[in-house]
Assembly symmetry: C2
Homo-oligomer: 324 residues x 2
C-alpha cells in the first residue's frame, strides 16, 4: 500500500536534485504495468516535463560483434571524465520469448556503472506490444529531468529497434567492423541511411590500416546516400575502445553536428516531429492492439487468411467480413 501513497511532487524534487534512488524508483514506476503505477508515473512525468529536453540524445547501433558495450563503456567514461553526466539506456523490442534483455546482464559496462557521473539502466523487460519504446522514451525524459547531459540509447536484440531509436534521438551512430565489403553484406537494409556517423570499431593493433581503408570506403558509400539529417554530411571515423583512439574525435563530430543542426531550424523541428510521431504511433498501436485482442477475432482472421490464399474470397471481402 506504500506506493499508492507516493508523494509525487516530493519524488519529482528528489529526481531534480540528483537522487539516484529516486530516479531508479521513478523508472520502475514508468516500466510497471500496474494501472495505479501507470497513473502515478504519468503524474510524475507531467510534473517534470518542463525540465526535459536539455540533453543531447544519441542512438547507438551496430552490426553483430561490433562491440557496442565496449564502445559505450569507453566513450561514456571519457565523457564522464570531461564532467558530463551520462545516462545509458537500451531499447529491446524483442519479445520476452526470444530471450529478452542482454543488458540485464549486470556484468556489462562494469566500470561505467561505478562512475559517479554515469547512470546505466538495463533494458526494460519486453512486454506488451508497442510498449517498449514508450518506456524507453519516458525513461529518457526522467533522466533529462535528473540533469543528465548525454543520453546514450543502445539498440538491443533484433527487430525494428533501429527505427525506433532513430525516431527518438538527435544523432544516430552506427558501429561496424573492418572490411566493408564482407561486412555490409550482413547489414540490415537501409541502416546506413539512418546513420549520422559510422564508427569503424576495433581499429587497433594490426587492424589500424584496414580500419582506415574501411573508413574511406564508408565515406565513399555515404557520399552516394541521402543524408540521415538534412544539412549534415554523415561521415566515418576509426575508433579503438581498447587503445582509446578516436573517442575524442567521435565526441567532436557529435558537437559539430549539434552546432550545425541547431543553427538551422531542424533541431527543434525534428524533436517536435518525433513527439508528434510518437503520439500518432501510440494511437495506431492502441487501435491495432485492441482490435486484434478481441476474443475469437484471431481464429476468424486465420480462417479468412486461408480463404484468401486459397482464392475463395478477395482481400476486400475478407476485410468486409471482419468489420461486419
Amino acid at each position: 500500500k506504500r506506493e499508492d501513497k507516493l508523494d509525487i511532487p516530493n519524488l519529482a524534487a528528489e529526481i531534480r536534485s540528483g537522487n539516484r534512488i529516486a530516479l531508479s524508483r521513478a523508472i520502475t514506476l514508468v516500466e510497471s504495468s500496474n494501472s495505479d503505477h501507470k497513473e502515478q508515473a504519468q503524474k510524475l512525468l507531467q510534473e517534470l516535463l518542463s525540465f526535459t529536453g536539455n540533453s543531447i540524445r544519441i542512438g547507438i547501433t551496430g552490426v553483430p560483434g561490433a562491440g557496442k558495450s565496449t564502445f559505450i563503456e569507453s566513450f561514456g567514461s571519457m565523457l564522464c571524465d570531461m564532467g558530463k553526466k551520462v545516462a545509458v539506456l537500451a531499447i529491446d523490442p524483442s519479445s520476452s520469448l526470444s530471450g529478452g534483455s542482454i543488458l540485464g546482464d549486470k556484468t556489462r559496462m562494469e566500470k561505467l556503472s561505478r562512475t559517479s557521473n554515469a547512470f546505466v539502466r538495463p533494458s526494460p523487460s519486453a512486454g506488451t506490444l508497442g510498449g517498449v519504446h514508450k518506456k524507453t522514451r519516458e525513461t529518457m525524459l526522467l533522466c533529462e529531468a535528473a540533469g543528465f547531459d548525454v543520453i546514450l540509447i543502445e539498440t538491443v536484440g533484433v527487430g525494428q529497434s533501429e527505427t525506433f531509436v532513430r525516431g527518438m534521438v538527435d544523432f544516430f551512430l552506427l558501429l561496424v567492423l573492418t572490411g566493408a565489403g564482407d561486412e555490409l553484406q550482413g547489414m540490415k537494409k537501409g541502416i546506413m541511411e539512418l546513420a549520422d556517423g559510422i564508427i569503424v570499431h576495433k581499429s587497433d593493433g594490426d587492424n589500424v590500416v584496414r580500419a582506415r581503408r574501411t573508413v574511406r570506403e564508408y565515406k565513399q558509400i555515404l557520399h552516394f546516400l541521402q543524408p540521415a539529417t538534412p544539412g549534415w554530411m554523415s561521415t566515418s571515423l576509426a575508433v579503438s575502445s581498447v587503445e582509446k583512439t578516436g573517442l575524442k574525435e567521435t565526441w567532436d563530430m557529435i558537437c559539430k553536428f549539434e552546432e550545425t543542426i541547431k543553427a538551422s531550424s531542424y533541431w527543434n523541428m525534428r524533436r517536435s516531429e518525433q513527439t508528434k510521431d510518437w503520439f500518432h504511433s501510440m494511437i495506431t498501436d492502441h487501435l491495432i492492439e485492441s482490435f486484434y485482442q478481441a476474443s475469437d477475432r484471431k481464429s476468424l482472421i486465420q480462417s479468412l487468411e486461408k480463404s484468401i490464399l486459397h482464392g475463395e474470397i478477395t482481400v476486400t471481402q475478407g476485410v468486409k467480413k471482419l468489420f461486419e
Copy 2:
C-alpha cells in the same frame, strides 16, 4: 439503373475471352466509390480469382527525368512483338490536391496504346486514404484473368509509391541516368535496396561510355547492399529506348530472375506474404481511417498535440484522453 443489373458471370466470361471493353468496364467498377459498384466489383473478382496469378508482375520506378514512359513504350512494344500480352498500370498515391495523375495524359505511350497485344490503363484518380494501391492490385488481378502475361506497374507521383509497388510485384526495376555520383544524391532513401535490377537509361550517342561506367558503379554499390530478393544478385544494365539497345537483355534478366526464384520456394512464398500483408494493411487502414474520421476527433487531436508540444501533458496522457 443499367449497371445495377450487371450480369457478373457474363462479364467475367467476356473478360476471360479477351474483350477489352469488358475489361475496361470492370476496372471502372473496381475504381468506383459507389457502394453498389464496389459490391459488384468484389463479386466479379471472386468469380475471376482462380484465373489470376499467371503473369509476371514487374514494378518500374525511376529518378525524375529518367524517362520511364519512353522505356515502357519501347520495352512493352518489344514484348508485344515477341507475342506477349502486356498490361501497363500505374500507381499514384499522391492526393488529388497535389495535381493528380500524369498517366491520365492520353498522349503518353501512344504507340504502345495502339498495339493490339497491349493494354495501357491511366492511373486511378487518387481518392480515399489507402485506397489507391488496393485499386491497382485489383486491376492487376483483372488483367491477369484477361490473359495478360506481363504486368508493368509504374510508380507515379511522390510519396510511398515505391514501397506500395514493391509490395505487389515479383521484379522491381529502377531507372537511373548516367553519373551515379551526382544522380544518387537525389535518390530516395532505400530505393536501391528495393531493386532487383537497375537500368542506366539513355545510353545512346555520346552517352554510351558514361552509361557503361555508371553500370559498373551501380554494380559495385549493389554488391554492398542486401539483395532485394533472397537468392538473386541484383544487377545493372545500360539501355537506350531510342536506339533499342539493352531491351532484350533487360527481358533476359527478368526471365533469368523468374527461373531462379521459381526454382527456390521464394516465388510463391513472396506472393502469399504480399497477399497477407495486403490483408493486414487494409485492416490497419480501415481502423485508422474510421478512427480519424469520427466527428470532432480532428480538433481534439490537434488540441492534444498542442498541449503535448507545449509540455503541458505527456504523450501517454494525450492518448488516454483520446480513448476515454
